[in-house]
């Protein structure tokens, strides 16, 4: 009996390890199709996506898929240039703030529900957590499938805090004021040059991290009706002043001209004690520094609030959706949706290997999600999170915001002057967006 059970278990294990067959694109016949896929760089993700593509190509020998990656801060420009020249890839992904202009300018094809084996939009929506497809919904149709939803929390190097005489379990930073005061305790400098940072900001994610700082104090980036920019001067000035204090023009605790804090954090080389990132950083840490990942020397804590916050707001979450080029051949569009559906059907592997979250109900309830270190911290913060601003001028507004903060932080511009300039330019951007 025992032998029979053992054989059954073995058979199940073997069956489970056999990869599911990639889908065959219907109606392809002998036609040859080339699909170009452009996505932002993520070494861990590239590995598994290339594997899915190889399986897809094996099941569809007439389809060639070219997989290209771009640095995340360059992909928008690469895509814009390519689309303007009518050379856009068949499949692409870009952060939602930047994706809006592609959708609203008719560059993105609606999801081919049939190609995904679904009856219609309602079936698709039912697979995801509420609201997760709202940003890509137009007139009842959806224009993308979520590759990842990212909210950010604070990664803390426990060992460095302890060495600075801070109890990481009790005295970890809970407020923005704490972040500055703890940084002052940890920071080391040679003269004015910082050799060890207590905390440094994530300078490529102002819409995720800085806007909630303003919102916690009652300010707004764009009004609810989308017509007015930069509301609540007091809140904006306090948040800008905090950034100034952090930078070289203030208490000299960090600066965008140093190595990105999250990269330095993973190295655990005593250069950065705290940095913001998403759950995906765990996979990067695991790949680049497994000893540190497996140690108990790091932890993740919730997004800080102000001491006098008016409301609890956590880091805005950003989203990346896989989209299909509406100008590509119809058959290529269909094949592209089949491929996207195939890749994204591996949500658990994306989470396990890349630590990125597809917001499907199935994944959030899965044991693997619950077993990820600190996934509960990310999940709890997510309850109070909003999506980053998504509007017709979102790309322009994001650029203006970066300029403003960098001018205040390192350019020595007075926050009041910078805020006035931002208000004027942001309002112009909103007014001229059609």
């Amino acid at each position: 009996m025992k032998k029979a059970i053992a054989l059954c278990v073995l058979a199940i294990a073997i069956l489970a390890s056999v990869p599911a067959q990639a889908p065959v694109v219907p109606g392809l016949g002998s036609k040859k199709i080339t699909i170009n896929l452009w996505t932002h760089e993520d070494p861990n993700r590239s590995v598994i996506e290339k594997k899915y593509i190889a399986e897809f190509m094996a099941a569809n020998p007439n389809i060639t898929v070219n997989y290209n990656t771009y640095p995340s801060n360059r992909i928008f420009e690469a895509l814009t240039t390519a689309f303007a020249g009518k050379q856009g890839p068949e499949i692409f992904n870009v952060s939602i703030g930047n994706a809006v202009s592609f959708i609203d300018n008719g560059r993105v094809a609606p999801v081919d529900y049939k190609a995904l084996g679904l009856k219609g939009p309602a079936d698709l929506e039912a697979m995801y957590l509420p609201g997760m497809l709202k940003a890509v919904e137009r007139d009842g149709d959806f224009y993308g499938l979520p590759l990842e939803i990212t909210n950010m929390c604070l990664y803390v190097n426990r060992k460095m805090l302890k060495e600075a005489g801070i109890d990481p379990d009790k005295d970890y930073p809970k407020t923005w004021e704490d972040l500055i005061s703890l940084s002052e305790k940890i920071v080391k400098r040679e003269g004015q040059i910082i050799t060890r940072r207590g905390f440094d900001f994530r300078y490529d994610a102002y819409t995720n991290l800085f806007i909630p700082m303003v919102e916690q104090l009652g300010g707004e980036y764009v009004s609810k009706d989308g017509k007015k920019a930069i509301i609540g001067d007091e809140a904006w000035l306090k948040a800008l002043q905090w950034m100034k204090e952090l930078g070289p023009a203030g208490k000299n605790l960090g600066s965008p001209t140093y190595t990105a804090a999250r990269t330095a954090f993973d190295k655990n080389d005593n250069t950065v004690a705290m940095s913001f990132s998403g759950l995906y950083q765990e996979a990067r840490m695991k790949a680049s520094n497994p000893d540190f990942y497996n140690s108990k020397d790091w932890m993740v804590v919730p997004f800080p609030q102000w001491k006098d916050s008016k409301k609890k707001v956590t880091a805005n979450y950003s989203a990346h959706y896989y989209m299909v080029n509406a100008q590509s051949d119809k058959l290529a569009q269909q094949a592209s949706w089949v491929l996207v559906g195939w890749m994204l059907s591996h949500g658990e592997e994306y989470l396990d290997k890349v630590a990125i979250i597809q917001p499907t109900k199935k994944l959030i309830e899965s044991p693997i999600y619950k077993s990820m270190p600190y996934s509960d911290v990310f999940a709890k913060d997510f309850e109070n999170a909003n999506i980053v601003y998504v509007g017709k001028a979102s790309a322009r507004l994001s650029t203006l915001l970066s300029e403003t903060i960098q001018n205040v932080m390192v350019g020595g511009v007075d926050p009041k002057v910078a805020l006035e300039k931002l208000r004027k330019s942001a309002q112009e951007a909103l007014d001229s967006a059609d």
């Binding site: 240039t81 592609f102 400098r189 300078y203 070289p248 001209t257 650029t399 001018n407 951007a429």
Partner: protein
């Protein structure tokens, strides 16, 4: 009347002339003339980069908006500061190096090659290398602090509004000085040796030969090099772009080319980007005309 008759041989030659210049004309029309005409057309239209709708004619709106924008005039300022900041060290540095190299009997090629080598690096690679140098813990701070005896001072090469402009100028000078050294070297090489020898027989010393013979005869090359420096420095882009991507404040280094790029790609407003491009084009046109004139002057003198 006989004089009006065309020489058949000349006519045949002219036909061949057209044949030989045709590829150049086609190339110029497709890659220069057409974009220029298209930019003029776009500057009067509400053209968005990703829009599939036909652009609307909006008259002078783009021109008024750009020419009344502080951002644009800041870019004109940034470009002007960069050009002037670059001109003096590149011009004097390359002239000095060319004079030093030409005065040497041995190793001319080696020195020319060593000076020219940064010019063959791509601008992106150059900017990336200098980003490391300008890192607060990088070589630039270490070097300057050792030189000035100011240990631990962060000179904020990428952070301070003035320093970041100086940093972009420094990178450009380092990259370009070798190229102009070669041009000056060629100019010096073209000075007839008979003139130099005659001056030596007349008893002129080195300083007199430099100030009375070399520099005056080098004037056409100087004019040409000056215009070339201005033209190429107005087209600077990669260093400013990469520095800004790595946290440097935008306003001090938002040169015209960078503003055009951001307006077209980030703001997706091709109309306004075209206005700025045409503004830059007219400046370059005037400088190119001066360059041609300077070149012609050189030929006349030769």
């Amino acid at each position: 009347m006989m004089g009006d008759r065309r020489n058949p041989l000349e006519e045949k030659r002219n036909r061949w002339g057209w044949f030989f210049v045709a590829p150049g004309i086609v190339f110029f029309s497709a890659f220069s003339l057409y974009p220029i005409l298209y930019a003029i057309w776009t500057s009067f239209h509400n053209k968005k980069l990703l829009s599939l709708k036909p652009p609307k004619f909006i008259g002078l709106q783009n021109w008024i908006s750009v020419l009344s924008s502080q951002d644009f005039w800041n870019s004109v300022r940034a470009s002007a500061v960069f050009c002037i900041g670059v001109f003096i060290p590149v011009f004097l540095g390359s002239l000095l190096f060319a004079l030093l190299i030409s005065s040497r009997k041995k190793g001319k090629r080696f020195y020319q090659m060593a000076l020219y080598s940064p010019a063959i690096l791509s601008s992106v690679v150059t900017a990336s290398v200098w980003l490391l140098i300008f890192d607060p813990r990088g070589l630039a701070n270490q070097f300057l602090n050792t030189l000035l005896g100011t240990a631990g001072v962060d000179h904020k090469w990428l952070a301070d509004p003035v320093m970041v402009q100086l940093s972009t100028i420094l990178v450009y000078v380092w990259k370009q000085v070798g190229y102009y050294t070669i041009l000056f070297g060629t100019g010096i090489g073209k000075i007839p040796s008979s003139v130099v020898e005659a001056s030596m027989i007349d008893g002129a010393n080195s300083w007199q030969r430099l100030t009375r013979i070399t520099l005056p005869l080098l004037r056409p090359t100087m004019a040409l090099v000056s215009v070339m420096i201005f033209i190429s420095s107005l087209k600077t882009f990669s260093t400013q772009y990469l520095f800004n991507q790595h946290g440097a404040p935008l306003a001090p280094i938002n040169v015209l080319t960078l503003n055009i790029y951001r307006t077209a790609l980030s703001d997706q407003n091709l109309g306004k980007a075209s206005v700025m491009s045409l503004f830059l084009f007219f400046i370059l046109l005037v400088l190119s005309w001066l360059q041609v004139k300077a070149g012609g002057q050189g030929e006349e003198l030769e």
